[in-house]
Protein backbone atom coordinates (compact mmCIF):
# COMPACT_ATOMS: atom_id res chain seq x y z
CA UNK A 1 0.00 0.00 0.00
CA UNK A 2 1.35 3.38 -0.84
CA UNK A 3 2.12 5.70 1.99
CA UNK A 4 1.00 9.27 1.92
CA UNK A 5 1.81 12.18 4.13
CA UNK A 6 0.56 15.71 4.38
CA UNK A 7 2.94 18.34 3.14
CA UNK A 8 2.69 21.94 4.21
CA UNK A 9 4.24 24.73 2.19
CA UNK A 10 4.37 28.37 3.26
CA UNK A 11 2.84 30.66 0.71
CA UNK A 12 5.61 32.61 -0.95
CA UNK A 13 4.16 36.03 -0.37
CA UNK A 14 4.87 36.19 3.32
CA UNK A 15 8.03 38.23 2.94
CA UNK A 16 8.50 39.78 6.30
CA UNK A 17 11.31 41.66 7.88
CA UNK A 18 10.99 42.69 11.46
CA UNK A 19 7.54 44.24 11.54
CA UNK A 20 7.81 45.64 8.06
CA UNK A 21 6.09 43.95 5.18
CA UNK A 22 7.95 43.98 1.93
CA UNK A 23 4.94 44.30 -0.29
CA UNK A 24 5.40 43.95 -4.00
CA UNK A 25 1.99 44.09 -5.61
CA UNK A 26 -1.70 44.65 -5.07
CA UNK A 27 -2.19 40.95 -4.94
CA UNK A 28 0.22 40.62 -2.06
CA UNK A 29 -1.15 43.66 -0.34
CA UNK A 30 -4.65 42.27 -0.45
CA UNK A 31 -3.41 38.89 0.67
CA UNK A 32 -1.94 40.50 3.75
CA UNK A 33 -4.73 42.92 4.59
CA UNK A 34 -7.67 40.76 3.59
CA UNK A 35 -8.23 38.99 6.90
CA UNK A 36 -8.12 42.29 8.76
CA UNK A 37 -10.47 43.93 6.28
CA UNK A 38 -12.96 41.09 6.50
CA UNK A 39 -13.06 41.47 10.27
CA UNK A 40 -13.29 45.26 10.28
CA UNK A 41 -15.84 45.55 7.49
CA UNK A 42 -17.76 42.57 8.80
CA UNK A 43 -18.14 44.11 12.23
CA UNK A 44 -19.02 47.52 10.80
CA UNK A 45 -21.82 46.28 8.57
CA UNK A 46 -23.29 43.92 11.17
CA UNK A 47 -25.81 46.50 12.45
CA UNK A 48 -27.14 46.89 8.86
CA UNK A 49 -27.27 43.18 8.19
CA UNK A 50 -29.22 42.57 11.37
CA UNK A 51 -31.30 45.67 11.91
CA UNK A 52 -33.87 44.20 14.29
CA UNK A 53 -33.87 45.58 17.82
CA UNK A 54 -33.28 42.14 19.21
CA UNK A 55 -30.22 41.35 17.11
CA UNK A 56 -28.73 44.78 17.59
CA UNK A 57 -28.84 44.15 21.30
CA UNK A 58 -27.11 40.83 20.74
CA UNK A 59 -24.40 42.54 18.71
CA UNK A 60 -23.74 44.98 21.55
CA UNK A 61 -23.46 42.11 24.01
CA UNK A 62 -21.12 40.26 21.66
CA UNK A 63 -18.88 43.33 21.63
CA UNK A 64 -18.84 43.58 25.39
CA UNK A 65 -17.88 39.94 25.73
CA UNK A 66 -15.28 40.47 23.01
CA UNK A 67 -13.66 43.21 25.09
CA UNK A 68 -13.56 40.82 28.04
CA UNK A 69 -12.16 38.00 25.92
CA UNK A 70 -9.34 40.16 24.53
CA UNK A 71 -8.63 41.32 28.07
CA UNK A 72 -8.46 37.69 29.25
CA UNK A 73 -6.23 36.67 26.37
CA UNK A 74 -3.83 39.55 27.00
CA UNK A 75 -3.40 38.66 30.66
CA UNK A 76 -3.33 34.90 30.26
CA UNK A 77 -1.16 34.50 27.21
CA UNK A 78 1.08 37.51 27.23
CA UNK A 79 1.57 38.18 30.93
CA UNK A 80 0.88 34.78 32.44
CA UNK A 81 -1.95 35.85 34.75
CA UNK A 82 -5.05 33.69 34.51
CA UNK A 83 -7.85 36.08 35.31
CA UNK A 84 -11.32 35.11 36.40
CA UNK A 85 -11.99 38.77 37.00
CA UNK A 86 -14.31 39.50 34.09
CA UNK A 87 -17.23 39.89 36.46
CA UNK A 88 -15.22 42.18 38.72
CA UNK A 89 -14.25 44.48 35.85
CA UNK A 90 -17.80 44.60 34.46
CA UNK A 91 -19.26 45.25 37.89
CA UNK A 92 -16.84 47.99 38.88
CA UNK A 93 -17.06 49.73 35.49
CA UNK A 94 -20.83 49.39 35.39
CA UNK A 95 -21.56 50.71 38.86
CA UNK A 96 -19.09 53.57 38.43
CA UNK A 97 -20.65 54.72 35.19
CA UNK A 98 -24.11 54.35 36.71
CA UNK A 99 -23.12 56.56 39.64
CA UNK A 100 -21.43 59.14 37.41
CA UNK A 101 -24.59 59.33 35.37
CA UNK A 102 -27.30 59.28 38.02
CA UNK A 103 -25.55 61.14 40.87
CA UNK A 104 -23.35 63.57 38.97
CA UNK A 105 -25.39 63.94 35.82
CA UNK A 106 -22.56 63.09 33.43
CA UNK A 107 -23.88 62.04 30.01
CA UNK A 108 -23.07 58.43 29.03
CA UNK A 109 -20.34 59.35 26.57
CA UNK A 110 -18.52 61.20 29.35
CA UNK A 111 -19.36 58.81 32.19
CA UNK A 112 -18.06 55.79 30.25
CA UNK A 113 -14.47 56.98 29.76
CA UNK A 114 -14.28 58.18 33.36
CA UNK A 115 -15.61 54.84 34.62
CA UNK A 116 -13.14 53.05 32.38
CA UNK A 117 -10.08 54.80 33.76
CA UNK A 118 -11.22 55.05 37.37
CA UNK A 119 -12.54 51.50 37.32
CA UNK A 120 -9.26 50.18 35.96
CA UNK A 121 -7.48 52.00 38.75
CA UNK A 122 -9.75 50.49 41.39
CA UNK A 123 -9.50 46.96 39.97
CA UNK A 124 -5.71 47.21 39.75
CA UNK A 125 -5.53 48.34 43.38
CA UNK A 126 -7.83 45.51 44.45
CA UNK A 127 -5.68 42.93 42.66
CA UNK A 128 -2.33 44.47 43.57
CA UNK A 129 -1.73 42.39 46.72
CA UNK A 130 -1.66 39.10 44.80
CA UNK A 131 0.53 40.31 41.93
CA UNK A 132 3.88 39.45 43.55
CA UNK A 133 2.67 35.89 44.12
CA UNK A 134 3.04 33.18 41.54
CA UNK A 135 0.59 30.45 40.76
CA UNK A 136 -3.15 30.33 41.10
CA UNK A 137 -3.58 33.15 43.62
CA UNK A 138 -4.44 35.72 40.98
CA UNK A 139 -7.16 33.50 39.53
CA UNK A 140 -8.64 32.80 42.94
CA UNK A 141 -8.57 36.38 44.17
CA UNK A 142 -10.01 37.74 40.92
CA UNK A 143 -12.84 35.23 41.29
CA UNK A 144 -13.52 36.02 44.94
CA UNK A 145 -14.01 39.77 44.54
CA UNK A 146 -17.18 39.63 42.41
CA UNK A 147 -18.66 36.99 44.71
CA UNK A 148 -17.89 39.16 47.70
CA UNK A 149 -19.21 42.32 46.02
CA UNK A 150 -22.61 40.79 45.50
CA UNK A 151 -22.87 39.84 49.14
CA UNK A 152 -21.65 43.24 50.28
CA UNK A 153 -24.17 45.09 48.12
CA UNK A 154 -26.93 42.81 49.34
CA UNK A 155 -26.03 42.90 53.02
CA UNK A 156 -25.28 46.61 53.34
CA UNK A 157 -28.00 47.64 50.91
CA UNK A 158 -25.63 50.08 49.22
CA UNK A 159 -25.55 51.05 45.53
CA UNK A 160 -29.27 50.43 45.22
CA UNK A 161 -29.12 47.13 47.04
CA UNK A 162 -30.85 44.19 45.38
CA UNK A 163 -32.95 46.51 43.20
CA UNK A 164 -29.90 48.07 41.60
CA UNK A 165 -29.58 51.58 40.25
CA UNK A 166 -32.38 52.61 37.90
CA UNK A 167 -33.02 55.56 35.65
CA UNK A 168 -29.64 55.48 33.93
CA UNK A 169 -29.45 57.39 30.65
CA UNK A 170 -29.17 55.34 27.48
CA UNK A 171 -26.87 56.16 24.57
CA UNK A 172 -28.25 59.04 22.45
CA UNK A 173 -29.61 56.48 20.00
CA UNK A 174 -29.15 52.85 19.12
CA UNK A 175 -26.85 53.50 16.18
CA UNK A 176 -24.45 55.40 18.40
CA UNK A 177 -24.66 52.58 20.92
CA UNK A 178 -23.90 49.99 18.25
CA UNK A 179 -21.03 51.79 16.64
CA UNK A 180 -19.55 52.92 19.93
CA UNK A 181 -19.13 49.36 21.17
CA UNK A 182 -18.01 48.03 17.78
CA UNK A 183 -15.39 50.75 17.41
CA UNK A 184 -14.18 50.12 20.94
CA UNK A 185 -13.68 46.44 20.18
CA UNK A 186 -11.70 47.27 17.04
CA UNK A 187 -9.72 49.95 18.84
CA UNK A 188 -8.73 47.71 21.73
CA UNK A 189 -8.20 44.63 19.59
CA UNK A 190 -5.73 46.33 17.28
CA UNK A 191 -4.34 48.42 20.13
CA UNK A 192 -3.51 45.35 22.18
CA UNK A 193 -2.08 43.58 19.15
CA UNK A 194 0.16 46.56 18.65
CA UNK A 195 1.06 46.70 22.32
CA UNK A 196 2.29 43.11 22.56
CA UNK A 197 4.74 43.78 19.74
CA UNK A 198 6.11 46.97 21.26
CA UNK A 199 9.12 46.88 23.56
CA UNK A 200 6.72 47.18 26.49
CA UNK A 201 4.85 44.15 25.19
CA UNK A 202 8.11 42.27 24.99
CA UNK A 203 8.70 43.05 28.66
CA UNK A 204 5.22 41.80 29.53
CA UNK A 205 5.83 38.56 27.64
CA UNK A 206 9.17 38.25 29.40
CA UNK A 207 7.38 38.50 32.74
CA UNK A 208 5.41 35.46 31.69
CA UNK A 209 8.31 33.44 30.28
CA UNK A 210 11.07 34.27 32.68
CA UNK A 211 10.29 36.56 35.56
CA UNK A 212 13.64 36.00 37.30
CA UNK A 213 15.53 37.37 34.32
CA UNK A 214 13.25 40.41 34.33
CA UNK A 215 14.10 41.03 37.99
CA UNK A 216 17.78 40.59 37.18
CA UNK A 217 17.31 43.27 34.54
CA UNK A 218 16.35 45.76 37.20
CA UNK A 219 12.62 45.79 36.58
CA UNK A 220 9.87 45.18 39.08
CA UNK A 221 7.69 42.34 37.86
CA UNK A 222 4.89 43.52 40.11
CA UNK A 223 4.91 46.90 38.39
CA UNK A 224 4.66 45.44 34.90
CA UNK A 225 1.97 42.99 35.96
CA UNK A 226 0.08 45.96 37.39
CA UNK A 227 0.41 47.82 34.08
CA UNK A 228 -1.06 44.83 32.26
CA UNK A 229 -3.84 44.40 34.80
CA UNK A 230 -4.66 48.09 34.40
CA UNK A 231 -4.96 47.77 30.63
CA UNK A 232 -6.99 44.59 30.91
CA UNK A 233 -9.33 45.85 33.56
CA UNK A 234 -9.82 49.05 31.59
CA UNK A 235 -11.21 46.93 28.76
CA UNK A 236 -13.52 45.10 31.16
CA UNK A 237 -14.64 48.28 32.91
CA UNK A 238 -15.37 49.86 29.55
CA UNK A 239 -17.59 46.91 28.74
CA UNK A 240 -19.36 47.19 32.09
CA UNK A 241 -19.86 50.91 31.67
CA UNK A 242 -21.45 50.30 28.25
CA UNK A 243 -23.76 47.60 29.60
CA UNK A 244 -25.42 49.85 32.17
CA UNK A 245 -26.23 52.42 29.51
CA UNK A 246 -27.51 49.73 27.16
CA UNK A 247 -29.85 48.22 29.76
CA UNK A 248 -30.36 51.56 31.56
CA UNK A 249 -29.98 49.65 34.77
CA UNK A 250 -27.10 48.64 36.99
CA UNK A 251 -27.58 45.71 39.33
CA UNK A 252 -25.90 42.87 41.12
CA UNK A 253 -26.07 40.72 38.01
CA UNK A 254 -23.15 42.78 36.70
CA UNK A 255 -21.04 40.67 39.03
CA UNK A 256 -22.41 37.46 37.48
CA UNK A 257 -19.84 34.78 36.78
CA UNK A 258 -20.91 34.51 33.12
CA UNK A 259 -18.69 37.53 32.54
CA UNK A 260 -15.75 35.57 33.88
CA UNK A 261 -16.44 32.23 32.25
CA UNK A 262 -17.80 32.92 28.76
CA UNK A 263 -14.73 34.95 27.68
CA UNK A 264 -12.55 32.00 28.63
CA UNK A 265 -14.68 29.62 26.58
CA UNK A 266 -14.58 32.08 23.69
CA UNK A 267 -10.79 32.29 23.94
CA UNK A 268 -10.42 28.52 23.85
CA UNK A 269 -12.73 28.23 20.86
CA UNK A 270 -11.23 31.14 18.98
CA UNK A 271 -7.59 30.36 19.62
CA UNK A 272 -5.67 31.35 22.71
CA UNK A 273 -2.93 33.90 22.26
CA UNK A 274 -4.19 35.22 18.94
CA UNK A 275 -6.30 38.10 20.35
CA UNK A 276 -8.48 38.02 17.23
CA UNK A 277 -9.53 34.46 18.00
CA UNK A 278 -11.28 35.37 21.25
CA UNK A 279 -13.32 37.99 19.37
CA UNK A 280 -14.36 35.37 16.84
CA UNK A 281 -15.16 33.03 19.70
CA UNK A 282 -17.54 35.63 21.12
CA UNK A 283 -19.12 36.18 17.72
CA UNK A 284 -20.00 32.49 17.70
CA UNK A 285 -20.69 31.75 21.32
CA UNK A 286 -22.78 34.73 22.36
CA UNK A 287 -25.42 34.51 19.59
CA UNK A 288 -25.69 30.75 20.06
CA UNK A 289 -26.18 31.26 23.75
CA UNK A 290 -28.89 33.84 22.90
CA UNK A 291 -30.65 31.31 20.68
CA UNK A 292 -30.59 28.89 23.56
CA UNK A 293 -32.04 31.41 25.96
CA UNK A 294 -35.25 29.40 26.40
CA UNK A 295 -33.25 26.57 27.85
CA UNK A 296 -32.33 28.86 30.74
CA UNK A 297 -29.60 27.59 32.98
CA UNK A 298 -29.31 24.42 30.92
CA UNK A 299 -27.20 26.54 28.56
CA UNK A 300 -24.26 25.99 30.85
CA UNK A 301 -24.34 22.32 29.80
CA UNK A 302 -24.03 23.47 26.23
CA UNK A 303 -21.02 25.72 26.97
CA UNK A 304 -19.42 22.90 28.84
CA UNK A 305 -19.87 20.45 26.00
CA UNK A 306 -18.46 22.90 23.46
CA UNK A 307 -15.56 23.71 25.72
CA UNK A 308 -14.70 20.09 26.44
CA UNK A 309 -15.08 19.23 22.77
CA UNK A 310 -12.71 21.96 21.71
CA UNK A 311 -10.16 21.16 24.33
CA UNK A 312 -10.19 17.48 23.51
CA UNK A 313 -10.32 17.62 19.73
CA UNK A 314 -8.89 20.85 18.49
CA UNK A 315 -7.23 22.70 21.29
CA UNK A 316 -5.48 25.14 18.95
CA UNK A 317 -8.72 27.04 18.29
CA UNK A 318 -10.36 28.35 15.14
CA UNK A 319 -8.00 31.24 14.59
CA UNK A 320 -4.77 29.25 14.78
CA UNK A 321 -6.27 26.66 12.46
CA UNK A 322 -7.48 29.35 10.07
CA UNK A 323 -4.16 31.16 10.01
CA UNK A 324 -2.40 27.97 9.10
CA UNK A 325 -4.85 27.22 6.32
CA UNK A 326 -4.50 30.75 5.02
CA UNK A 327 -0.74 30.97 5.08
CA UNK A 328 0.10 27.46 4.00
CA UNK A 329 -0.78 25.23 1.10
CA UNK A 330 -1.48 21.71 2.23
CA UNK A 331 -1.38 18.71 -0.01
CA UNK A 332 -1.00 14.99 0.19
CA UNK A 333 2.19 13.65 -1.26
CA UNK A 334 3.39 10.13 -1.84
CA UNK A 335 6.23 9.00 0.34
Amino acid sequence: MEQRRKERIDRGIKVRTDGLYAVMSWRELSYLTMPRMVLIVGLLILPFVMPSMYWQRVISIVCIYALLAVSFDLLAHFVGLVSLGGALFIGVGGYLSAIMNTSFGFPPLLAIPIATIAGAGICTLLLLPCLPLRGVYFAIVSLMYPLAMRRVIEALDILGGTDGIMGIDSFPNRWIEQYFVILMVLLFLFGVRRLVNLDLGLVLRAVKDNDQAVRASGMSITFYKAVAVFISSAMGCLGGACIVHIYMWSGMSLFALDFSILPIAATVIGGAGTLVGPVLGCLILVPVSELLREFGTLRIVFYSLILVGFIVFRSEGIMVYGQRKYHQIERWVKV
Binding site: D18, D199, L200, L202, V203, R205, A206, D209, N210, Q212, A213, V214, R215, A216, S217, G218, M219, S220, I221
Partner: protein, 263 residues
Protein backbone atom coordinates in the same frame (compact mmCIF):
# COMPACT_ATOMS: atom_id res chain seq x y z
CA UNK B 1 36.14 57.42 47.88
CA UNK B 2 39.41 55.83 46.79
CA UNK B 3 39.81 52.72 48.91
CA UNK B 4 36.22 52.07 49.83
CA UNK B 5 35.28 48.64 48.50
CA UNK B 6 32.55 48.56 45.87
CA UNK B 7 30.91 45.61 47.57
CA UNK B 8 31.18 44.54 51.17
CA UNK B 9 29.51 41.39 52.44
CA UNK B 10 29.28 41.08 56.18
CA UNK B 11 28.51 37.87 58.07
CA UNK B 12 25.93 36.64 55.60
CA UNK B 13 24.11 33.58 56.89
CA UNK B 14 21.48 31.53 55.13
CA UNK B 15 19.61 28.51 56.38
CA UNK B 16 17.26 26.36 54.33
CA UNK B 17 15.07 24.69 56.90
CA UNK B 18 17.69 23.10 59.13
CA UNK B 19 20.50 23.21 56.59
CA UNK B 20 23.11 25.88 57.08
CA UNK B 21 23.93 26.85 53.50
CA UNK B 22 26.00 29.91 54.38
CA UNK B 23 27.64 30.50 57.73
CA UNK B 24 28.70 34.08 58.47
CA UNK B 25 30.48 34.65 55.19
CA UNK B 26 32.28 37.99 54.87
CA UNK B 27 34.32 39.39 52.04
CA UNK B 28 34.77 42.49 49.98
CA UNK B 29 35.38 43.43 46.36
CA UNK B 30 37.46 46.48 45.46
CA UNK B 31 36.66 48.89 42.66
CA UNK B 32 37.61 47.40 39.31
CA UNK B 33 38.77 44.14 40.86
CA UNK B 34 38.05 40.55 39.84
CA UNK B 35 37.40 38.31 42.81
CA UNK B 36 37.24 34.58 42.23
CA UNK B 37 35.07 32.36 44.39
CA UNK B 38 35.71 28.63 44.31
CA UNK B 39 34.48 25.68 46.31
CA UNK B 40 33.21 22.14 45.86
CA UNK B 41 29.67 21.46 44.62
CA UNK B 42 27.02 22.46 47.10
CA UNK B 43 29.35 24.71 49.06
CA UNK B 44 26.96 27.63 48.81
CA UNK B 45 28.43 29.73 46.02
CA UNK B 46 25.20 30.22 44.12
CA UNK B 47 23.34 30.77 47.35
CA UNK B 48 25.81 33.54 48.19
CA UNK B 49 25.07 35.36 44.91
CA UNK B 50 21.35 34.83 45.43
CA UNK B 51 21.60 36.41 48.88
CA UNK B 52 23.64 39.41 47.70
CA UNK B 53 21.25 40.13 44.84
CA UNK B 54 18.15 39.41 46.96
CA UNK B 55 16.92 36.58 44.76
CA UNK B 56 16.60 34.78 48.04
CA UNK B 57 16.29 36.43 51.42
CA UNK B 58 19.31 36.02 53.65
CA UNK B 59 18.72 34.83 57.20
CA UNK B 60 21.09 37.40 58.66
CA UNK B 61 23.98 39.56 57.59
CA UNK B 62 24.58 42.73 55.65
CA UNK B 63 25.58 43.72 52.16
CA UNK B 64 27.04 47.15 51.50
CA UNK B 65 27.32 48.60 48.01
CA UNK B 66 29.73 51.56 48.01
CA UNK B 67 29.12 51.83 51.73
CA UNK B 68 25.34 51.83 51.38
CA UNK B 69 23.37 49.03 53.00
CA UNK B 70 21.45 47.22 50.27
CA UNK B 71 20.36 44.18 52.25
CA UNK B 72 16.58 44.11 52.45
CA UNK B 73 16.12 45.89 49.15
CA UNK B 74 14.17 43.97 46.48
CA UNK B 75 16.11 42.25 43.70
CA UNK B 76 15.14 44.68 40.96
CA UNK B 77 16.27 47.67 43.04
CA UNK B 78 19.65 46.08 43.60
CA UNK B 79 20.04 45.41 39.88
CA UNK B 80 18.88 48.97 39.31
CA UNK B 81 21.84 50.20 41.36
CA UNK B 82 24.18 48.37 39.01
CA UNK B 83 24.77 45.19 41.00
CA UNK B 84 24.02 42.63 38.31
CA UNK B 85 24.29 38.88 38.10
CA UNK B 86 24.29 35.99 35.69
CA UNK B 87 22.49 32.73 36.34
CA UNK B 88 24.31 29.42 36.62
CA UNK B 89 21.36 27.81 34.87
CA UNK B 90 21.01 30.23 31.99
CA UNK B 91 17.76 32.13 31.82
CA UNK B 92 17.36 33.60 28.36
CA UNK B 93 13.96 34.39 26.88
CA UNK B 94 13.88 31.25 24.81
CA UNK B 95 11.04 32.32 22.53
CA UNK B 96 12.85 35.48 21.42
CA UNK B 97 15.80 35.98 19.07
CA UNK B 98 19.08 36.70 20.83
CA UNK B 99 19.08 40.44 20.13
CA UNK B 100 15.46 40.82 21.25
CA UNK B 101 16.53 39.31 24.57
CA UNK B 102 18.36 42.55 25.22
CA UNK B 103 15.39 44.77 24.48
CA UNK B 104 14.04 43.83 27.90
CA UNK B 105 17.01 44.95 30.03
CA UNK B 106 17.36 47.98 27.74
CA UNK B 107 13.80 48.88 28.66
CA UNK B 108 14.69 49.00 32.35
CA UNK B 109 14.79 52.28 34.29
CA UNK B 110 18.54 51.91 34.76
CA UNK B 111 19.22 51.50 31.05
CA UNK B 112 17.00 54.49 30.31
CA UNK B 113 18.87 56.55 32.91
CA UNK B 114 22.34 55.59 31.81
CA UNK B 115 21.33 56.63 28.32
CA UNK B 116 22.26 53.79 26.08
CA UNK B 117 25.30 51.77 25.35
CA UNK B 118 28.66 53.49 25.02
CA UNK B 119 27.55 56.50 26.95
CA UNK B 120 25.79 59.73 26.31
CA UNK B 121 22.91 60.66 24.14
CA UNK B 122 19.45 59.36 23.92
CA UNK B 123 18.90 55.62 23.83
CA UNK B 124 18.57 54.70 20.20
CA UNK B 125 16.44 51.95 18.82
CA UNK B 126 16.71 49.12 21.33
CA UNK B 127 17.16 46.51 18.63
CA UNK B 128 20.25 48.23 17.29
CA UNK B 129 21.70 48.82 20.71
CA UNK B 130 21.04 45.17 21.50
CA UNK B 131 22.96 44.03 18.44
CA UNK B 132 25.82 46.35 19.38
CA UNK B 133 26.03 44.80 22.82
CA UNK B 134 25.95 41.31 21.36
CA UNK B 135 28.82 42.24 19.09
CA UNK B 136 30.83 43.51 22.06
CA UNK B 137 30.30 40.21 23.80
CA UNK B 138 31.33 38.07 20.88
CA UNK B 139 28.30 37.45 18.65
CA UNK B 140 29.41 37.84 15.06
CA UNK B 141 27.55 40.87 13.82
CA UNK B 142 27.22 39.94 10.19
CA UNK B 143 26.20 36.36 10.85
CA UNK B 144 22.78 34.96 11.62
CA UNK B 145 23.69 34.29 15.23
CA UNK B 146 22.29 37.46 16.84
CA UNK B 147 19.01 36.84 15.02
CA UNK B 148 18.65 33.21 16.01
CA UNK B 149 16.08 32.13 18.55
CA UNK B 150 17.64 31.85 21.98
CA UNK B 151 16.26 28.32 22.20
CA UNK B 152 18.51 27.26 19.32
CA UNK B 153 21.71 28.85 20.62
CA UNK B 154 24.52 26.64 21.96
CA UNK B 155 25.69 26.96 25.56
CA UNK B 156 28.60 29.22 24.68
CA UNK B 157 26.34 31.89 23.25
CA UNK B 158 23.81 31.54 26.06
CA UNK B 159 26.58 32.24 28.58
CA UNK B 160 27.49 35.34 26.59
CA UNK B 161 23.85 36.32 26.47
CA UNK B 162 23.76 36.15 30.27
CA UNK B 163 26.68 38.59 30.39
CA UNK B 164 25.09 40.74 27.71
CA UNK B 165 21.98 41.14 29.83
CA UNK B 166 24.16 42.53 32.61
CA UNK B 167 26.03 44.82 30.22
CA UNK B 168 22.78 46.27 28.90
CA UNK B 169 22.30 47.70 32.39
CA UNK B 170 25.72 49.37 32.36
CA UNK B 171 26.68 47.56 35.53
CA UNK B 172 29.01 48.67 38.30
CA UNK B 173 29.68 45.09 39.28
CA UNK B 174 28.77 41.73 37.74
CA UNK B 175 28.40 38.61 39.83
CA UNK B 176 29.12 35.77 37.41
CA UNK B 177 27.92 32.29 38.32
CA UNK B 178 30.06 29.84 36.36
CA UNK B 179 30.25 31.57 33.00
CA UNK B 180 33.03 29.19 31.92
CA UNK B 181 31.41 25.89 32.78
CA UNK B 182 30.04 23.86 29.91
CA UNK B 183 32.33 25.66 27.47
CA UNK B 184 35.06 24.13 25.37
CA UNK B 185 38.69 25.17 25.82
CA UNK B 186 38.60 27.37 22.75
CA UNK B 187 35.36 29.00 23.83
CA UNK B 188 36.87 29.84 27.19
CA UNK B 189 39.98 31.13 25.48
CA UNK B 190 37.81 33.60 23.60
CA UNK B 191 35.90 34.56 26.76
CA UNK B 192 38.97 35.44 28.81
CA UNK B 193 39.93 38.57 26.86
CA UNK B 194 36.32 39.62 27.08
CA UNK B 195 36.39 39.39 30.86
CA UNK B 196 39.64 41.33 30.86
CA UNK B 197 38.07 44.04 28.76
CA UNK B 198 35.15 44.36 31.15
CA UNK B 199 37.66 44.89 33.92
CA UNK B 200 39.45 47.55 31.89
CA UNK B 201 36.12 49.28 31.42
CA UNK B 202 36.09 49.66 35.19
CA UNK B 203 33.53 46.98 35.97
CA UNK B 204 34.22 44.94 39.09
CA UNK B 205 33.58 41.22 38.80
CA UNK B 206 32.91 38.35 41.14
CA UNK B 207 33.50 35.08 39.34
CA UNK B 208 32.32 31.77 40.64
CA UNK B 209 34.19 29.08 38.78
CA UNK B 210 35.09 25.44 38.77
CA UNK B 211 37.56 25.97 35.94
CA UNK B 212 40.41 27.03 38.18
CA UNK B 213 43.17 27.41 35.65
CA UNK B 214 41.15 29.80 33.51
CA UNK B 215 39.91 31.65 36.57
CA UNK B 216 43.43 32.22 37.83
CA UNK B 217 44.32 33.90 34.57
CA UNK B 218 41.92 36.73 35.33
CA UNK B 219 41.41 36.80 39.11
CA UNK B 220 44.25 37.74 41.37
CA UNK B 221 42.31 37.23 44.59
CA UNK B 222 40.46 34.03 45.38
CA UNK B 223 38.03 33.10 48.12
CA UNK B 224 37.30 29.47 48.94
CA UNK B 225 33.95 28.29 50.28
CA UNK B 226 33.32 24.90 51.81
CA UNK B 227 30.05 23.76 53.40
CA UNK B 228 28.89 27.35 53.52
CA UNK B 229 31.97 28.59 55.33
CA UNK B 230 34.77 30.76 54.08
CA UNK B 231 37.97 28.72 54.28
CA UNK B 232 40.58 31.14 53.10
CA UNK B 233 41.15 34.15 50.88
CA UNK B 234 44.29 35.17 49.04
CA UNK B 235 46.27 35.00 45.83
CA UNK B 236 45.72 31.80 43.81
CA UNK B 237 49.08 30.16 44.58
CA UNK B 238 48.69 30.75 48.29
CA UNK B 239 45.12 29.49 48.33
CA UNK B 240 45.84 26.33 46.39
CA UNK B 241 48.80 25.48 48.60
CA UNK B 242 46.57 25.53 51.66
CA UNK B 243 45.97 22.17 53.34
CA UNK B 244 42.33 22.91 54.21
CA UNK B 245 41.57 23.70 50.59
CA UNK B 246 43.17 20.49 49.36
CA UNK B 247 41.18 18.58 51.90
CA UNK B 248 37.94 20.34 50.90
CA UNK B 249 38.42 19.30 47.33
CA UNK B 250 38.95 15.79 48.72
CA UNK B 251 39.20 13.21 45.94
CA UNK B 252 39.82 15.88 43.40
CA UNK B 253 43.03 17.05 45.04
CA UNK B 254 45.07 15.63 42.21
CA UNK B 255 42.90 17.46 39.76
CA UNK B 256 43.76 20.70 41.47
CA UNK B 257 47.44 19.99 41.38
CA UNK B 258 47.17 19.17 37.75
CA UNK B 259 45.30 22.43 37.22
CA UNK B 260 47.93 24.32 39.18
CA UNK B 261 50.81 22.86 37.24
CA UNK B 262 49.26 24.29 34.08
CA UNK B 263 48.64 27.67 35.62
Amino acid sequence: MSDQPILEVKEVTKTFGGILALNRVSFHVNEGEILGIIGPNGSGKTTLINCITAFIKMTSGKVLFRGKDISGKPAHKIADMGVTRTFQIMRPYYSLPAYKNLVIPLYSPRAKRTGGWRGGGKLGDRNTVGIDILEEIGFERDSFVPYKMASTLPTGYLKRLELARCLALKPEIILCDEVFSGLSMSEIASMVPLIERLQMDGIALVMIEHRLRELFRVARRIMVLNFGEKLIEGIPEEVMADEKVKEAYFGSAEEIEEDMSHA
